[in-house]
C-alpha cells in the first residue's frame, strides 16, 4: 500500500523502509497506468527522476540527506526546468527547452526532491478548468465528467491521483486554491513576495505567486520551507525572514478569531458548498476558535478589477512571444508583420488570445485611466478592506468556489461564467494575501469540496497551523478517489 504523505515517505526513506528509487519507480508505474487517461502531465522526466532518486539514495545512505531528500514531486509546466521542455501548456512553447531552472525548481532540487515530470496546466495559466491547455484537458480523478479546475489542474490531479507526493503550482487569481479544492487536496498560495518568481513564466506579474499542492497542511509546510525566502533575482521577492513552518503547526486554536465575510455567502453560492463551509466553521469552533461575522464590501468589485489588471499585465508579458528568438515561428510568414501575426495567431490558443486582446484594449491610449488606473484604485480599496478586517480577526474562512464542481466543457462557450467563478479567490490575490484551501467535505456525487482560509501578510504559519489542527480531527484530506473507472 502506497503511503501518500510526504512526511511519512520522508520517515520511511530515513528508516530504510524503502528507497527513493523504489518510491520513484512506483510513481512512474502509476503514471504509466493512469495518466494516459488523466492527462495530468505534459512531460514525464523518467530518466531525470531515476538519476535524482539514485543521488537521493546516496545522500540518504551517507547521512547527508535533508527532510525532503528523495521525495518525488512534479512541477507545474510554468516553471523553467533546465534542459527540459517548459511549455506553459501552449503550442507557443511546445519546442521551448528552458536553458535555466526557476528558483523554486532549483531550491527543491537542492533539497533533494525528485522531479517526475511537468504538470499540465491552462495555457499560460489562463483558465479555471485546465481546458485551455494545448495538450488537452486534464480529467478530475473523482469523476469522469468533471474538470479538475485550473490553472494548476495538472498539479492538483497528479497529487489527488497519487501520481506524486506533492506538486508545485502557481496562483494568480486562484490557480492553486481552486484546483486543490476541486480535487480534494490542500493548496497554499503564499503572500505575494514570499517565493521568488524567477523562472516562473509570467502571467500577471503583480499577482503571480508560486504555491504548493499536497495532501496535507503538514506536507505543504515542508515544501514551503524550501521554496520561501528572498531571491535577489526577483525585485518583488521580499527580504522577509522565513519562519520554521513545521514548528508552527503544533498548538491548539484556542483564542483564534476566525472571520466569516458575509459577502462570501450570498445568493451565488452553491448550497452544498455553503454547508461544507459552515461545517468547517463548526469544526474550527470546536477546536477553540471564535467565529466572527465580518464584512468585505469592496470585494464585490474584485472580478472586474482583477481582470483589468491581470489581463493588462498578461498582454504585456506575452509580447515577448514573437517567433524571433524562441518558441513557435510560423512557416507562413514572408515579412516581419506577418511573422508576428502568424506566429502569435498559430502559437496561442483562443483564451490566451482573448486575454491579450482585452489586456491590450485596457492599456490603449484614451482607455488607460478609465480601466487600469481605476482598477488599481479598486485594488487598493480591497487591500484596505482586508487590513481593516484582519485587525479584528486572525483568519478569514470562506468558500473557494461558488460551485461544487465543474463539468468538462461547461465553460467552453461562456468564459464570463468561468471568470465569475474566481469571485472568492481574486480579492485575496489583489490584496497579495496568503490563503490556503483544504478539503472539508463533499457534494452530490461524492465530489470533494474545499474551504479557503485567508491570513494577513506573512501569516502562512497561522494558516498552516489552523489547517493542520483541522486535519488532525478530520479525514477529508485522506480521502482518495476511486480510480477503478480507468481501464
Amino acid at each position: 500500500m502506497q503511503v501518500d504523505s510526504v512526511m511519512q515517505q520522508a520517515a520511511d526513506l530515513r528508516a530504510g523502509a524503502c528507497s527513493s528509487v523504489e518510491l520513484t519507480q512506483s510513481y512512474l508505474a502509476r503514471i504509466r497506468q493512469l495518466d494516459g487517461t488523466l492527462n495530468s502531465l505534459i512531460t514525464v522526466t523518467e530518466d531525470i527522476a531515476l538519476a535524482q532518486a539514485q543521488a537521493a539514495d546516496a545522500r540518504l545512505a551517507a547521512g547527508s540527506a535533508g527532510p525532503l531528500t528523495g521525495i518525488p514531486i512534479v512541477h507545474k509546466d510554468v516553471f523553467c526546468t533546465r534542459g527540459v521542455r517548459t511549455s506553459c501548456g501552449s503550442r507557443m512553447l511546445d519546442n521551448f527547452i528552458a536553458p535555466y531552472d526557476a528558483t523554486v525548481v532549483s531550491r527543491l532540487q537542492a533539497a533533494g526532491c525528485v522531479m517526475l515530470g511537468k504538470a499540465n496546466m491552462d495555457e499560460f495559466a489562463m483558465g479555471s478548468s485546465n481546458e485551455t491547455s494545448f495538450y488537452g484537458p486534464v480529467h478530475n480523478p473523482w469523476s469522469v465528467d468533471a474538470a479538475p479546475g485550473g490553472s494548476s489542474g495538472g498539479s492538483a490531479v497528479a497529487v489527488a491521483a497519487r501520481l506524486c507526493a506533492a506538486a508545485t503550482g502557481s496562483d494568480t487569481g486562484g490557480s492553486v486554491r481552486q484546483p486543490a479544492a476541486l480535487t480534494g487536496i490542500t493548496g497554499l498560495k503564499p503572500t505575494y513576495g514570499r517565493c521568488s518568481r524567477w523562472g516562473m513564466v509570467a502571467f500577471a506579474s503583480s499577482l503571480d505567486q508560486a504555491g504548493i499542492l499536497a495532501h496535507s497542511a503538514q506536507d505543504v509546510a515542508a515544501l514551503l520551507q524550501v521554496i520561501a525566502g528572498f531571491d535577489a533575482q526577483d525585485s518583488t521577492c521580499a527580504e522577509q525572514p522565513v519562519p520554521d513552518y513545521a514548528a508552527g503547526l503544533a498548538g491548539d486554536l484556542r483564542g483564534l478569531r476566525i472571520g466569516l465575510p458575509q459577502e462570501f455567502f450570498t445568493d451565488g453560492l452553491d448550497a452544498a458548498v455553503a454547508a461544507v463551509v459552515q461545517q468547517a466553521a463548526q469544526v474550527y469552533e470546536s477546536l477553540g476558535a471564535t467565529l466572527v461575522e465580518v464584512s468585505l464590501p469592496t470585494s464585490q468589485a474584485s472580478i472586474p478589477a482583477y481582470y483589468v489588471i491581470a489581463l493588462a499585465e498578461a498582454a504585456s508579458n506575452l509580447s515577448r512571444y514573437d517567433g524571433v528568438r524562441f518558441g513557435h515561428r510560423s512557416a507562413q510568414a514572408d515579412d516581419l508583420a506577418a511573422l508576428y501575426a502568424h506566429s502569435r495567431a498559430e502559437g496561442f490558443g483562443t483564451e490566451v488570445k482573448r486575454r491579450i486582446m482585452l489586456g491590450t484594449y485596457v492599456l490603449s491610449e484614451g482607455y488607460y485611466d478609465a480601466y487600469y488606473v481605476q482598477a488599481q484604485k479598486v485594488r487598493q480599496l480591497i487591500a484596505n478592506d482586508f487590513q481593516r478586517v484582519l485587525q479584528e480577526v486572525d483568519l478569514l474562512l470562506g468558500p473557494v468556489t461558488p460551485f461544487a464542481s465543474c463539468a468538462l466543457g461547461a465553460w467552453q462557450q461562456d468564459p464570463v461564467q468561468m471568470y465569475l467563478g474566481d469571485v472568492y479567490t481574486v480579492p485575496v490575490s489583489l490584496a497579495g494575501l496568503p490563503a490556503l484551501s483544504h478539503p472539508a467535505g463533499c457534494a452530490q456525487h461524492g465530489m470533494p469540496v474545499g474551504v479557503q482560509l485567508i491570513g494577513n501578510y506573512w501569516a502562512e504559519p497561522r494558516l498552516l497551523q489552523a489547517a493542520h489542527q483541522y486535519q488532525g480531527v478530520t479525514d477529508w484530506h485522506q480521502q482518495a478517489p476511486d480510480l477503478s473507472w480507468i481501464g
Binding site: 516562473m200 533575482q233 525585485s235 518583488t236 504585456s316 515577448r320 514573437d322 528568438r325 508576428y340
Partner: protein, 480 residues
C-alpha cells in the same frame, strides 16, 4: 515673412556602468554579436529585471549637476512595440514619474552673451539591440549585446532658436555628462545620441508650429546641418501654402537631407504602464549624498573660477573648460609658469591645433604640461620670441627634447646683445635708402606703422632671434 525656428533636443546618453541596467551582462563596445546577452537580455520566459544601482547613482549625479529636482519616488514603465531587436516586446523606461525633473543649463556664445535652456526631465531606460540588415544576404541579423544598456534620456524644453544654439546646448550637455563621469561621450560609438524636434513659426506667434523629429544625428556637425536643412524645408513648404506633417525624419549625411521615416498616423500606441516586475524607485537624501560625493568641479563653476582667478574672458574660460582634461591641462601649465593669459593662448592655439592635426587624445600628446610650461617660461624671460617658440614647440612635438634642449641645439636663443643688434640695424638702414627717406618725410603718426618694415628686415637678418623690442628702440633712435 520672417520665421522663427524652435528646437528641442532629446539626448540619449549611454551610462558608463560596468553592466547592463537590468542584468549583470557586460556592456563593452565592439564585442562579438550576442556574446553580451544573458537570459534577461534575451527576454527569455520567466526572467525578471533587477535594477543596477550604479545607473541610478549616475542619473542622480546628472540631476544634481544641473540643479534639477531628483524625484524621491519614480517609476519604471513598459513602452510596448514589436521589433526584432526589442526582445521583450516592450522597453523598460520611465514615463509619468522620471527620476530627474526640471533643471537648467546655461550657454555662453562667442560675444559673451548667455542663454538658459530648460531641461524638462531626464529618465532612465534600457537600450534596444541592433538589427543588421546588410550583413546576411536576404536576412536580417539581430545583435542583442546592446539590449539592456543603461541610457539616461535628457529631454530639453523647446528653448533653442537656431541650429547653432542647439549644437551649443548639445555640447554643453556633453561637457556635463563627461565631466561628471557618467558617459564616455563617444558620438561615433553611439554613447551620446541626439534627436532634434524642429518646428518653425511666424516671428511673434506664440503657438508652436507642427514639429518633425530628426534622427540619426551622430555628430554635432550633422546635428547642425540636419536642423539647417529641415528649417529651410519647413519654411519652403509653409511659404508655398503647404502644411508640415508631424513625423520622424532620418538625416542622410551623404545627401545632406532629411527623409521621412514614419508619420504620426503610423506611430505606435506604446501602452505605457508601470512595470510590475520593478518596485517604485525610492531615493532618499542619503542616497543622493552618496551618489554626489566626489563630484568634480562642474563646468559652470570652473568657467566662473577661471574668470575670477585667472582674469580670463567668459569665452576663453568656456573654451578651456569644454573638456575636463583640457581644463586640467591648462591648470597644470599655469601652476608651472603663471601667466594664465599666455597659457590660455597657447593651450587653445598652437597646442590644441597640433593635437587636432595629429588626431590625438590629450593624454597621448607628446608634450606634457610641464614641457609646455618650460617653453612658455622661455618666452616670459625673453630667451625666445613667440614666433621662435612655435618652432621650438614643433621640435618638442617631434621628440627633440625639452624647450631648453631644442633652443640650445638649434641656437635659437634670442639675441639681446646691443652690439650685434646695432650692426644688423645699421646694415638694414644702409641697404634701404628709399624707405629711410620715405620714413623721414612721413608725419609722426604714420611712422610707427612704417617702422615695421625695418623691424622685419632686422628679424630676417637675425633669422628671428633678434629681440624685437630692442630692435624697435634702436631703429627709432637711428632713424630720428
Amino acid at each position: 515673412m520672417p520665421w522663427e525656428t524652435v528646437i528641442g533636443l532629446e539626448i540619449h546618453t549611454q551610462l558608463a556602468t560596468c553592466s547592463k541596467i537590468f542584468s549583470g551582462s557586460a556592456i563593452m563596445f565592439g564585442a562579438e554579436p550576442n556574446t553580451q546577452a544573458a537570459l534577461v537580455d534575451l527576454g527569455m520566459p520567466g526572467v525578471l529585471p533587477v535594477l543596477n544601482q550604479a545607473a541610478v547613482q549616475m542619473a542622480v549625479r546628472f540631476g544634481y549637476a544641473i540643479g534639477a529636482e531628483i524625484a524621491s519616488h519614480s517609476v519604471f514603465a513598459r513602452k510596448h512595440y514589436f521589433y526584432p531587436d526589442l526582445p521583450k516586446g516592450y522597453q523598460i523606461s520611465q514615463y509619468e514619474l522620471p527620476i530627474v525633473g526640471r533643471g537648467v543649463v546655461s550657454l555662453v556664445s562667442e560675444d559673451g552673451a548667455t542663454k538658459s535652456v530648460g531641461v524638462t526631465r531626464a529618465h532612465l531606460e534600457e537600450d534596444a539591440g541592433k538589427s543588421l540588415h546588410d550583413v546576411f544576404g536576404g536576412m536580417s541579423g539581430i545583435d542583442l549585446n546592446r539590449a539592456g544598456t543603461p541610457l539616461l534620456e535628457i529631454v530639453s524644453e523647446p528653448d533653442m532658436r537656431s541650429a547653432a544654439e542647439a549644437v551649443a546646448y548639445a555640447r554643453k550637455i556633453h561637457r556635463i555628462v563627461t565631466c561628471i563621469g557618467i558617459c564616455d561621450g563617444n558620438l561615433q560609438e553611439g554613447s551620446f545620441r541626439c534627436d532634434a524636434n524642429v518646428s518653425v513659426r511666424p516671428l511673434g506667434q506664440e503657438q508652436l508650429g507642427t514639429r518633425t523629429e530628426l534622427k540619426n544625428l551622430n555628430s554635432f556637425r550633422f546635428l547642425h546641418k540636419a536642423i539647417q536643412f529641415e528649417v529651410v524645408r519647413q519654411i519652403n513648404i509653409l511659404e508655398e501654402g503647404g502644411r508640415i506633417v508631424q513625423e520622424t525624419r532620418l538625416y542622410d549625411a551623404e545627401r545632406d537631407e532629411t527623409r521621412s521615416m514614419r508619420s504620426k498616423e503610423e506611430a505606435n500606441d506604446y501602452r505605457y504602464f508601470p512595470d510590475p516586475d520593478l518596485l517604485p524607485l525610492v531615493i532618499d537624501a542619503d542616497f543622493i549624498a552618496t551618489a554626489t560625493t566626489n563630484m568634480p568641479e562642474l563646468p559652470d563653476a570652473r568657467v566662473a573660477r577661471f574668470q575670477q582667478v585667472f582674469g580670463l574672458s567668459a569665452y576663453v574660460a568656456d573654451c578651456l573648460t569644454s573638456r575636463r582634461a583640457l581644463a586640467d591641462f591648462f591648470e597644470s601649465v599655469v601652476a608651472f609658469c603663471g601667466d594664465a593669459t599666455l597659457v590660455a593662448n597657447w593651450v587653445l592655439g598652437e597646442f590644441s591645433a597640433t593635437l587636432n592635426k595629429a588626431d590625438l587624445a590629450l593624454a597621448e600628446a607628446p608634450v606634457s604640461a610641464a614641457d609646455l610650461a618650460g617653453l612658455l617660461r622661455r618666452i616670459q624671460d625673453q630667451t625666445i620670441s613667440g614666433k621662435i617658440a612655435k618652432q621650438v614647440f614643433a621640435a618638442m612635438w617631434q621628440g627633440e627634447g625639452t624647450a631648453d634642449a631644442v633652443i640650445a641645439a638649434r641656437g635659437l636663443k634670442q639675441v639681446t646683445d646691443t652690439g650685434a643688434l646695432a650692426a644688423w640695424v645699421d646694415e638694414v638702414i644702409a641697404a634701404s635708402s628709399v624707405q629711410v627717406a620715405n620714413y623721414q618725410a612721413a608725419a609722426a603718426e604714420k611712422r610707427p606703422k612704417m617702422i615695421g618694415f625695418f623691424v622685419g628686415q632686422v628679424m630676417k637678418k637675425s633669422r628671428g632671434k633678434a629681440n624685437p623690442q630692442q630692435v624697435n628702440q634702436l631703429l627709432q633712435s637711428r632713424l630720428g
